[in-house]
Amino acid sequence: MLSIVLFSSCVEDEVPGLQNTNVSLNFKHNWDGTAVTNTDFNTIQYFTAEGDELSIEKLRYLISNVTFHKSNGETIVIEGYNLVDVTNNENVSYITPVQIPVGTYTNVSFTFGFDNTDNVDAVYTDLNSASWNVPMMLGGGYHFMQLEGKFIDNTATETGYQYHAIKAVDNTDPMNLVFQDTFFTVNLGEVIVHNNSSVDVNMNIAEWFKTPHQWDLNALHSMLMPNFSAQVQMHENGQNVFALGTVN
């Protein structure tokens, strides 16, 4: 339901006679190589680089503007977005809503979150219905990710964490919010697209807590949306989270 094409797609330079196809992006998840699905949720069993043991209770995130790059520099931009909901196993496969020519692409990329053009407050009724909004006091727009669960804190108590990624905002002065972009482009690398190709996109959830910032959940577990430096660190850790998986 939450896979929406917002604008007409910009399919450039289609070559007549070439076969066109839809491509399925399959979002898969692991913790340092161990597969994670929603059946693994709700159990404290994963260790962060910091040594905190945690569970996952909720994971959903937004990707947008999947782009196929040709060797000649041209691009096919699939404008739209997909809210991957791992908790409910919904939208974990995103089939491009328009067809692209089969062939070799030097890179397939997408935006993690929304870029500033698309991150417009309130305009996406499906995302509003999914309570995916960011309060206007933090600039409005939408979440990029909600990762929640429990961890064993330094008093041996199970404590909730809410690793919510949004556009970084310094709200020290509520009348003069200061922003820093935290959406980023994920480059998967070369992909050969066949008829009805299936492309696995792997998220290593552990990386959100690892590189370059070794995340200390005891210090950073709650109220992270208005925490400017935490948002910047999430952005930087996110650079190593995604990787290309199997392509069929």
């Binding site: 949720f41 909720k58 909004n133 206007m136 809410q162 949306m225």
Partner: protein, 355 residues
Amino acid sequence: MKEISYILVLILLLSCSKDDSGDAPDTYMPTPLALDVPPLFVQKILPPAIPFTNPQTVQGVALGKKLFFDTILSADNTQSCASCHAPANAFSDASQFSDGIDGVFGNRNSMPIFNAAFNYNEKFFWDGRSFGLEQQALEPVKNPIEMHNTWEQAVTDLQSSADYPNLFQSAFGTATITKELVVKAIAQFERTLISGNSKFDKYLLGTATLTPQELNGFNVFMDETKGDCFHCHGSDNNPLWTDNIFHNNGLDAVFADLGLGEVTGDPSDNGKFKSPSLRNLAFTAPYMHDGRFNTLDEVINHYSEGLQNSPTIDPLMKMVAQGGIQITTQEKADLKAFLLSLSDYEFINNPAFQN
């Protein structure tokens, strides 16, 4: 324009069917009835979820309303749906627990009924055990601590009544009454129960002004470091004021009622109940699934200082070790003022929703 033409065609078909009374029932078409969706809902959220097997019609809604307020569905003709879902209480019950026809009380507070057509996941009851309004409506009639009837008896009584066969004929093209048609009609009526005209709605539409206290309260609601209510209870961009999802909001350390866990059998769902809408709180006390809190003050105090830890408490419940979010007395008062601005007096007084 295309939709209008379609409706006109349907109306013409209806006119023809009246002239051909006694002819084949499959030519009969009741009059389509569009839901009256508030402008903010149109702007902000997805359209209502109406099953294609039960389209809204004028005749179906009228029948459903009559059934909703009629005691004929109960075994001793003393209770209707409205007995526990009163319009004045936003179709809830002012009592903590409702008693059935035998005077036996349940263990959960009667859920208010409004904006059910926008419950996109279609899970109903506090524990989500029914999928779809039609399925939900099947239960109270046969529940031994509610109407304590059988569907066979209820259908027999309806069939032998003076009015109902004709009303079912008008609504569904057949005078042969079934429980499936009964709940379809009730569901059609319930889907018309749309609340979207509170003071806060009017504020968002630019036709009302909030007091400074109400505005402060809205900020407490939206501030992740204070109330952080918006993650589960909607926002100015989600006018349902609920996520319609199941959470353990820290009411108990040990569960007397497993809630969703009883339905799924998954221990990680124990103690989880559906987030109620925060609309119409002025009319829906007492609060929580078991009606344990008589006032909004008690509710706010719970989230501020009264949280109980348990293995399934929602990660969004913050500062559990301290009992909660620890907001100030002033912030509590402001939050309460804002919450009450979500109450929709036109909804509870809407003549279309009264007996």
